[in-house]
Symmetry: C2
Subunit: 190 residues, 2 copies
DNA sequence: CAATGAGTAGACAGATCTGTCTGTTCGTTG
DNA sequence: CAACGAACAGACAGATCTGTCTACTCATTG
C-alpha cells in the first residue's frame, strides 16, 4: 500500500539533509518538525529515536555545517603557500558560497538570532565563532603579525560585515570589498 | 474592583514601549501577544484596535526605532564640523549603544533574521539599511571621495561587522576597531 | 522459522499562539 | 443626564507545534 523507501540512506542522514535545507533556508523557528519529516520521508518516531528533540536536531544540523566548513577551508588553505594567502582564501571561500543561489548568510548568525539565550543552539554558534577567530589568530601569528589577536579581530570584523551585506542586500561585491580591505591589512604586516 | 490605570499614556504608546523592550530583548517570534499586553497593562482588544495585527505592531516597533536612530544621529552630526567627523560620529553612536547593558545588536538585523521573506517586517529592515547606506554615501560625497558609493559600502561593512561582533561576542572593542579602520579609510580620501 | 530491531503511519495530548467577540467601566462632551 | 468612545477583562475559536504512543511492516540474523 504505502510507497516504498526510495532513498536508501539511513533515516538519520536523510533527516540531517532535510534539516540542512529547511533550517538554513527558512530559519529554525519557522520550520516545524512535520515539514522536516515530510521532506526526509521519515516517520516522526524515527526523528525522536535518532535525536530526541528538535533542539538536538538543530544542534546536529549546526555541527554538521561547522564540520563541513572546516573541511572546506582546510582543503582550500592546503593549496596556499603562505599564511597571508590562507587568510585571503577564507574570503574566497565566502565569495564562492555567496555566489550560490541558495545563499542565506551565515547559518550560525541566523540561528543565533533565533535561539533562546543559553540554549545549546547558542552554544554551538559561539563555538563556531570561536573557531573562526582562532583560525584567523593562528594564521596572523604565522604571518608574523605583531598583534595577532588584534589583526584576527579586524579580519573577522570584515568577514562578518561582508556576510551580513552579502546576505541582506544580496550584494556579492561586499565580499570582494572585504577581501580587498583584508589584503591591505596584511600588506601592513609586511 | 480592577486596579485603575496608573500609566496615563494612551494605550498605543504603552504598547509600543512594551514591544520595544520585549521584541528587542528576546526576538519578535519568541515574544507573544499576551506578554506584550501584560507588560503594557493593556487589553488585547486595544492592541488590535490600535494595530490590527502582530505584524503591524512589529512594523511600528521597527519604524519607531528607525526614527529614533535618525534623530540621534542627526543630533550628533549637527555637532560635527566636517563630513569626516560626521562619519566617525556614527561609530561613536554605536559605541554608546553597545556600552548599554541591554544592547542586543542591530534590531533590524535581528528582526530580518526572524521575518518571513517578503513580509512587511523585511521591507522595514531593508528601508532602514538603505537609509544607512545613503547617509554614508552622502557624507562620503561631501567629504570629497572619488567613489562615494564604494566608500559608503566599505563603511557600512565595518559598521555591520562591528555590530555583529559587539552583539554576539559581547565584545565592545570591535566598535573601536571598526572606527579606527574607518578613520584610516577617510585619511586616504584627504 | 522465530526473534529482533529499525522503520512507518498516524492518532493523540498538551501547550501556545493569533485573532475575535462579548460585556463592562469610565471619562468626556453635547 | 445621556450618549459616545476608549479602554478594560477574559472567554473562546482555530491553528500550529512539540513530543508520545500504539500498532503495523519488513529485512536480517541466530
Amino acid at each position: 500500500m504505502k510507497s516504498p523507501v526510495q532513498d536508501r540512506r539511513p533515516a538519520r542522514e536523510r533527516l540531517l539533509a532535510a534539516a540542512d535545507e529547511l533550517f538554513y533556508e527558512e530559519g529554525i523557528n519557522l520550520v516545524g518538525i512535520d515539514r522536516i519529516i515530510e521532506r526526509a520521508g521519515v516517520a516522526k518516531a524515527s526523528l525522536y529515536d535518532c535525536f530526541g528533540s528538535k533542539e538536538e536536531l538543530i544542534r546536529s544540523y549546526l555541527q554538521q555545517r561547522h564540520e563541513a566548513r572546516q573541511l572546506r577551508l582546510r582543503d582550500r588553505m592546503a593549496k596556499c603557500a603562505t599564511p597571508k594567502e590562507k587568510i585571503l582564501s577564507v574570503f574566497d571561500s565566502m565569495a564562492e558560497a555567496v555566489a550560490r543561489a541558495d545563499y542565506r548568510g551565515c547559518a550560525f548568525a541566523r540561528a543565533s538570532a533565533e535561539a533562546r539565550p543559553g540554549s545549546s543552539v547558542k552554544v554551538a554558534c559561539d563555538e563556531s565563532r570561536a573557531w573562526n577567530l582562532a583560525l584567523f589568530a593562528e594564521l596572523a601569528r604565522e604571518a608574523g603579525a605583531s598583534d595577532p589577536q588584534g589583526l584576527a579581530q579586524q579580519l573577522r570584523l570584515l568577514y562578518d560585515g561582508a556576510s551580513v551585506s552579502a546576505h541582506v542586500d544580496g550584494n556579492a561585491s561586499a565580499v570582494t570589498a572585504a577581501r580587498a580591505m583584508a589584503s591591505i591589512l596584511l600588506e601592513a604586516v609586511a
